[in-house]
Symmetry: C2
Subunit: 426 residues, 2 copies
Amino acid sequence: MSEAFAAVDVIAAKRDGGRIPDEQIDWVIDAYTRGAVAEEQMAALAMAILLRGMEPSELARWTAAMIASGVRLDLSSVDRPTTDKHSTGGVGDKITLPLAPLVAACGAAVPQLSGRGLGHTGGTLDKLESIPGWRASLTNDEFLAQLRSVGAVVCAAGDELAPADRKLYALRDVTATVESIPLIASSIMSKKIAEGSSALVLDVKVGTGAFMKNVASARSLAETMVSLGTAHGVRTVALLTNMHTPLGRTVGNALEVAESLEVLAGDGPSDVIELTLVLAREMLAGAGLSDVDPADALRDGRAMDVWRRMISAQGGDPAAPLPTARETHVVVAPASGVLSRLDAYAVGVAGWRLGAGRARKEDPVSPGAGVVLLAKPGDSVQAGQPLLELHADDPARFDGALSALEGGYDIGAAPTAQPLIIERIS
Amino acid sequence: MSEAFAAVDVIAAKRDGGRIPDEQIDWVIDAYTRGAVAEEQMAALAMAILLRGMEPSELARWTAAMIASGVRLDLSSVDRPTTDKHSTGGVGDKITLPLAPLVAACGAAVPQLSGRGLGHTGGTLDKLESIPGWRASLTNDEFLAQLRSVGAVVCAAGDELAPADRKLYALRDVTATVESIPLIASSIMSKKIAEGSSALVLDVKVGTGAFMKNVASARSLAETMVSLGTAHGVRTVALLTNMHTPLGRTVGNALEVAESLEVLAGDGPSDVIELTLVLAREMLAGAGLSDVDPADALRDGRAMDVWRRMISAQGGDPAAPLPTARETHVVVAPASGVLSRLDAYAVGVAGWRLGAGRARKEDPVSPGAGVVLLAKPGDSVQAGQPLLELHADDPARFDGALSALEGGYDIGAAPTAQPLIIERIS
């Protein structure tokens, strides 16, 4: 009944630009999780945090309180070193799919609790759910057993992990309080720290298709998250990577699974292979396995073996044909020249409108929908040559996707080559 | 079902420091009143407004939308010119009680829709309710009939006046978004403009016992409100008046009614008389009755006559004895000298804790509780002489009141005289 603090005092402290005292941070996160701080009070506090910021020590305490709102998994029964990766979200970012089995094939254990897509970036669970039979939900015992036997688990985070974040994330979505570096960093890191991995590699996307549009803001987010991970005893590094154009040649759910299988078979688009290997080496280094070369495990089929066991362990049939969309529509090059730009955000929105993503979290996604990129920036194209192939179950969706793509690509001079890996922060 | 705008877009515009477009202002106030914009969304918007501010034209539109959320009363059937006063709230501020009948006695009609006290400042309705039989709630027809027959009505505002403000005010109270000049100004002015008076005098209090602690912020609020009133065709002026020490010699409900009766009888404390007459002259000037001297109507009993009719019309017995508290406690001067300071906030909190005010809007108030000031700043006192008399029904309340008064007064050198009326803004 009687609360230690009053929510208005906590909100007023941040509103006036001050630091929220430690005990008030602990109280407000706990009381919000219990329902003793109302949604409208947390909304006002979130807006004050967005506009006033947080000091590093204040954010560390806030993140610790978010972790303490639930359980922190104990992975000490896993006999391999644990290491995980988190991406801040990009278009065509299927990297987790080849990466998790690859790193497991190299001797580490990958305990990845993942999410679903909202908006123009896809979600790893949505992609995996396009595999017939595969299920995202595991009990804690199933999760641990699979981590021990297979070495890689990608599944949905349970309700007991950082429940404060679950509530706060939904609230921020409807109150225009998403775009705050302290709130983004504490949301990601509270879940990743609670997950129990000993090492973590953050893939912070920069570009039109990413949440962070420029290097400076991405660097700030990356540095903030690396500090939080380190403070909680998780060996954390971050890479800033390019998201001005989609990764690989597919955007969608089953389409991205198919491309991931190419990579696991030792083939696939060069950018997906490069990023997968760079991230694998970072994850393995975090796990103390720097002397293993993940390229070998792609070449010799060990990564593909782990993939099959990982999918089977969660009820999926790795040999079953993947679903395809009922309709396709081809976008052709309007002129001859070099494809100088293919905008990640435009393609992401097109894929979303084709049915690959969802507008509300209750919406279903279409497993076969998406975009196949038949040319990538730097490729020469002839007028009339197919550039993009749109896939949808309902042809009525093509119009919306086409309008999203308007102005989303240019044909002209060869573009300046942009590095895929922009910066490393540790 | 389908809404014209999305709340997140409106919030984001203000969050990023922009002006909310007119149509979005109209929509968000209407949708909030209907419940289509959630409390947490309005809380985030209110915090963004508090921290980012509002342009004058934006605030004018916001206020117009608040008025349009309900009805604007039509007082054209009243054959006298209408004029009203609003005070931003002070300690011992009983001025409405003598003022409304006084101005009516001078030929104008005073249609005052008033509120209850929350926190350390008392509410006019609470004070009047200490009169046996008096009721605050009137129907619209009763309100108009009394305004025509008596010329003065002080009653509770109905639900149909600025319902958006009613909701928003309650929300701001729990989300630390009260202290925003645009939100305060639009809250006050939407109600006062909807009330239908042709002229309005604003008494903006400045000092420790007021919401505005310094002249600069009080001036800013006053100028903002005068602009809003003028833009809506209400002849509006504001006075900045001193609230470093309580007005008059009583703080409480029945205690302040008794003091108001002294003023209506041509007697009473000089500061209460002065402020009553200054405000009466401003109200009469707004009503086009500048040639009437309200001092005459106090002297010759006409104001008292209107008071009696005003109280009787709302069921009150103007001749009935006023309630008194069961217990009193005297605070004596700790030394001899001049009372150099008697802090309004300290006395306000003491009165509140004695039972004159309420902590939550559901709480009852004690009609007899309060503080009688036996000395005012500038008075010479002897050590041991009574300074303050505390009145409460429950003697257990004295301790809290005494601790509120600690450090609330000084005995020493004569204080520099402070003017009661600081500035006039029109």
